[in-house]
Symmetry: C2
Amino acid sequence: MRVKVLYEFKAQPNSGELSINANEILTVNRKDVGEGWWEGTNQRGEVGLFPAGYVEPLAPEAEVVANSQQSSYDFGDGDWGEDDWDDDDDSQASNSQSNYDYYPTSNSGPHPTSATTPTSQLAPITVSGHPSKAPQQQTQQTVRKSFNRFSTFVKSGGEDYILGIKTLKVNENDFIYILESEATFKWAPNERPSDVSVDKPKKESKMKGLKSYIAYQLTPDSTHIQVSRRYKHFDWLHERLQDKFTTIPIPALPDKQISGRYQEEFIEHRRTQLQSWVRRICRHPVLSQCEVWQHFMTCAADEKKWKLGKRKAEKDELVGASLFFAVQPPPMSSSLDIQTVDRKMDQFNRFVSKMDDSVKLLYITAQDQSKKFGGPYKREFSKIAHSLHTLSDAFAFSGVDGQPNNDRLNNAIKHTSDTYDAIGRLYLEQPKHDFGPMCDILHEYKGILTAWPEILQVHKGAINKKKEHQKMLDEGKIDDKSVAQINQRADVVTLSTMAEINHFQEERVVDFKEAMHHFLTNQIQFYESIASKLRDTLNLYDF
Amino acid sequence: MRVKVLYEFKAQPNSGELSINANEILTVNRKDVGEGWWEGTNQRGEVGLFPAGYVEPLAPEAEVVANSQQSSYDFGDGDWGEDDWDDDDDSQASNSQSNYDYYPTSNSGPHPTSATTPTSQLAPITVSGHPSKAPQQQTQQTVRKSFNRFSTFVKSGGEDYILGIKTLKVNENDFIYILESEATFKWAPNERPSDVSVDKPKKESKMKGLKSYIAYQLTPDSTHIQVSRRYKHFDWLHERLQDKFTTIPIPALPDKQISGRYQEEFIEHRRTQLQSWVRRICRHPVLSQCEVWQHFMTCAADEKKWKLGKRKAEKDELVGASLFFAVQPPPMSSSLDIQTVDRKMDQFNRFVSKMDDSVKLLYITAQDQSKKFGGPYKREFSKIAHSLHTLSDAFAFSGVDGQPNNDRLNNAIKHTSDTYDAIGRLYLEQPKHDFGPMCDILHEYKGILTAWPEILQVHKGAINKKKEHQKMLDEGKIDDKSVAQINQRADVVTLSTMAEINHFQEERVVDFKEAMHHFLTNQIQFYESIASKLRDTLNLYDF
């Protein structure tokens, strides 16, 4: 299958990704990579992964071929039954659009974690299906709409919300409260917080062993009822959360790994990553209370109930900007000061950009160290071990074997050689304890930080509308009441964004404090155990 | 000056050496490199060092040019006065042959430490000056001489000694005693052992500052009188010892370093190397008692006395195989058993070869680690430090600076960044404490091990003579008395070699025990101080 590139994408070095340029033609080699990635070959023969959403098929008949290829992977009943969810064909879900009606209308679409292009560009095709409401110039400018119908602000329905074009009656159960405390705005805490443990990953199979997958066992401490979830379920949940929450960056799931899928170490690593992801949702005052999450973590092995909850989540009206209708701000004496808000948001925007850069840099460093510990560093110690071993081999040949000191020396050097080999093995194992976990938390933050610019863009859209109408009021083109309503709605967006920023900042301090503490503790243990091993071998030279 | 290559020489990788092949033409760029090395350019334009003894001048007039060039470096009086000895023109001594009559007749000649070609091949030109005594076939075969007049055995005078062609009356003061103890033969210990400290290297200058050099202060604990010696004096002593002792491997002096000659660190490093070299001579029961050594370490600032002793040393008749006349073996009931001796020497020969390989390997490894510690490893820690610094920079921008935990986290991460920089600096400094000293001791052993094959070759020559005459006796071609004399003299060579082997083995065990102990102690301190630094920064995360 050949595709044409719609948007530029810059590959990260050594990531297996392929840089692509608009209008370039690629040959798709694999669609079963997962998470919105495909593998392809460009016209220079370079092979790599690229975001599936950045390309379009070259010819219609090509799609037919692609679909028939897909069916060969598809053993399911064509519905969302438990049985269709398989690690082997995760990407089928994203491709066979007939089953996944939330996909084409999604404002996030395939969401490559490290893609630098805003996701708003990912699926512009969906915008054409969006009812295009009057970009014509109106004399009464109350509902002046943005011309940029590709902006997330517009796409998410933020503009319609601010301008009061759309209204929605929200059930009190779904209210999301914002509190004011010490001049900051916070999400009201979850009154019934629950922790969920992710454990006992099990390899399960179906179709008489034809297909196998890993199921993770989740146990909320609220119910103590274990539920079994696969990566695919997490992926679905992730999409739903991304659709639903316009102002909340949804942490990225662990990357889909292509090789070593069923190896114990990979599975255990993914378990710890999913555990961390789940805990992050649990800690979030809004996410942890939403229905789809509750459904995900409590619905046990009852397929009917599962499907019901799933369909309900997919039909949820409180998604995107509509969710603002559910937000209940604290009582306020006046509308927020535009300049103060602008200043704070600008600062945060620049901070997010700086933090994104530094997190990416630290991530690269940590990944690099992980690789070096297990590769070149380990080999250096093997070299030292080998050189010492060669020396003790030569000494064994000295012809003075009877002399006790000669034998003791020889024995000691051999032991020292073994010690350096053992230190080499420590290096091999060490990234699991320090740089690996650091990579994991940085990966989560990379995902979160990638989401922020778009969230801030939605907020910017809202505040711009507020400014425009303020100006029109100053010019006498609009009445107080309309402005007050727009201000109130724009403030809901601002307060939601601020509440989330506040949550983010609190989490950030705790997360990095813990991450650094864990990292350093393990680094200390590492160097201490090297010293301790060396001390053991040093003792052998006391003769 | 252009020269023709006589013997192949293989350069060690990254040593600055140049591989040369027989009959190749080189252009000599520098002769003032020292220790028998010259710098030249080959016809492919490659530049590097090669052993000066491996080439011959291409045309006689070229030498004239070379000599006139030398004079431009020579500020001295043409004699061996203290003033001529300068680090800057060490190699002048080796090149201006008129002053150095020991050089052309030396059996060792320029002695590149790591050259794999036996030094017997270095200066075959000297053999032609050697009185060629009767390689004609004689009917009475008592004094059948070797045809291989290039062998060290012949060149050192070993053959003449064994065959009784030469005799020498030795003063009792010069006797060298061998003792038998527990079935091994040892040199009689030095009854008045003395330790010599090498310290206070001083930069001195002469010619109104035109020339400057480093003088090391040596103080023997026997006299407590400090003497001042320069590298050049050591070099002279080294040559004298190599000439004199046929069965004793003289440890190599520290390599002459071309750059950074007057830098403090280099000077201090050379001081420790010279200290180690001097201690090795002090510990040697034979070397520590010889006259030239006594002269070297006790002759204070009395130029006349110095020159007298120097000339005496140069005229010493007890050099090479002649020294065997001075060796006093223990009383023995019968001649040594040829097979037992053969077996022991074969074993030792193979051991020396294996040890040589392993010492070279460990040396390369230790040098490599030294470089990596100060280069790439240090840089890795700087990278980690930089990444963390970037993160703390970003965090300083968070806009929540008021929050105590945010500030504490930021402060902690900044401190951790500094800590990794400090660890990087530890890596930079560390080779001085572990891999560096290991390189030093291995360098000494490389020199010693290079000398052994030739010593064993001299012994082999002696024992072969013993075998030949035994065979002739069995065939009735020779009388008992002649054989007994040859056996006695061959046994002196064997016993001297065995005594030295015994000394070598004892030194080896002590040296490597100490070297490993020192190395490991410093490795432990290193890893412990890393852990300790990390523990200090970890404390900052307890908030």
